[in-house]
Symmetry: C2
Subunit: 211 residues, 2 copies
């Protein structure tokens, strides 16, 4: 039952009446890994509360070049979608399921109401903004202060963390897209990391040793 699942994941965040309302107005959505949930420029009408799995958030420039911003995990939401809803704005980012995921989609109309009626909801939204802000700052730090080899290792560690698996199933090309570089560079640096004993390489499988 929806309310049970909800209580399991958000019981410590929201009070009972709010949980009930969310269960009432929310809609369960299951997505398979790799599925796109939202695109840049798309209008936003609902807000996801993640129950399980992980979502990766991407940015794209005019030329179509991509960059991974961060992952959203269980118990999180995409705060940006909130104000977007409220203001009727378009999405600034793209969201793709990193693993099979479950979430509850909440319609914008209720969100606005809850903002005034439930202190816990208000707090949740503000905390979410704060958390996302912090992650974006992390991303900026990574881009500004780290070299590609460290960015790569960090990416592999992050990926292992959100999937809960130290075996990463991804091609060098896919990793290159996430870090906005070329496949050759990734292959080169992966080999270097392997020589340093931090990972081991197999076809379609990178094992992160240095977690």
């Amino acid at each position: 039952m929806l309310l049970d699942t909800l209580t399991e994941h958000y019981g410590f965040v929201f009070e009972a009446p709010l949980l009930k309302e969310i269960a009432q107005y929310g809609q369960l959505k299951k997505v398979a890994a790799g599925m796109q949930l939202m695109d840049i420029g798309a209008p936003i009408t609902q807000m996801p509360l993640l129950l399980s799995g992980a979502i990766k958030i991407l940015r794209e420039d005019e030329k179509g070049d991509e960059l991974l911003l961060y992952f959203i995990e269980r118990g999180d939401t995409c705060a940006m979608s909130f104000s977007c809803c409220m203001g009727g704005a378009k999405s600034e980012i793209r969201a793709v399921a990193e693993t099979d995921s479950e979430m509850i989609m909440v319609p914008v109309s209720q969100m606005e109401k809850w903002m005034f009626t439930y202190k816990s909801w208000q707090q949740f939204i503000l905390d979410s903004y704060q958390a996302r802000m912090k992650e974006l700052l992390q991303t900026v730090d990574t881009l500004a202060f780290l070299r590609m080899d460290d960015r790569l290792l960090k990416h592999l560690q992050d990926k292992a963390k959100v999937t809960g698996d130290d075996h990463i199933h991804a091609t060098h090309q896919e990793i290159a897209y996430d870090l906005h570089t070329s496949r050759v560079v990734i292959s080169r640096l992966l080999k270097k990391l392997e020589n340093e004993g931090k990972i081991s390489l197999h076809r379609n499988d990178i094992t992160v040793i240095d977690l």
Copy 2:
């Protein structure tokens, strides 16, 4: 009088009773250009509403390397300071007055109350988060997708915009700090931009032609 100044800058954002409350509890603060307003790791107890001038927001890594994130202008606030206040968290960023500036400092106790009593305040806070998020995304785009010469030109244009002056009074070293690179690189690229007719160089003064 404080209320008049406040109404002038925020009259279209907040309703009259809220303006009055802000005037009552807020404190006017004037700072000179170059003065540091907040440091990384410092506790936050007040939130600024900017009346005039501009504040630059910086990020720093463990080694003390800096990076300019964005500018805050008139009519804006530092949304991050809001949740920091609420959660009693430490600042993630450093804030330095880019120009002489005036702001109203609002104590945290009132902010919480207004969140429930004034819809316009709630909207203001959410809009502010959204705006800051958008600026951070801009920063990420700049770092990820632009080369240093374009970053430099963009920086000069931004700086000209927030100061309202196409003459930029800064040494090459200062610019290098903001962009997290070395003075030599900046001198080199500035000369290149001058040859391309986009700026003109003088001692302690860069004139932006291509605005």
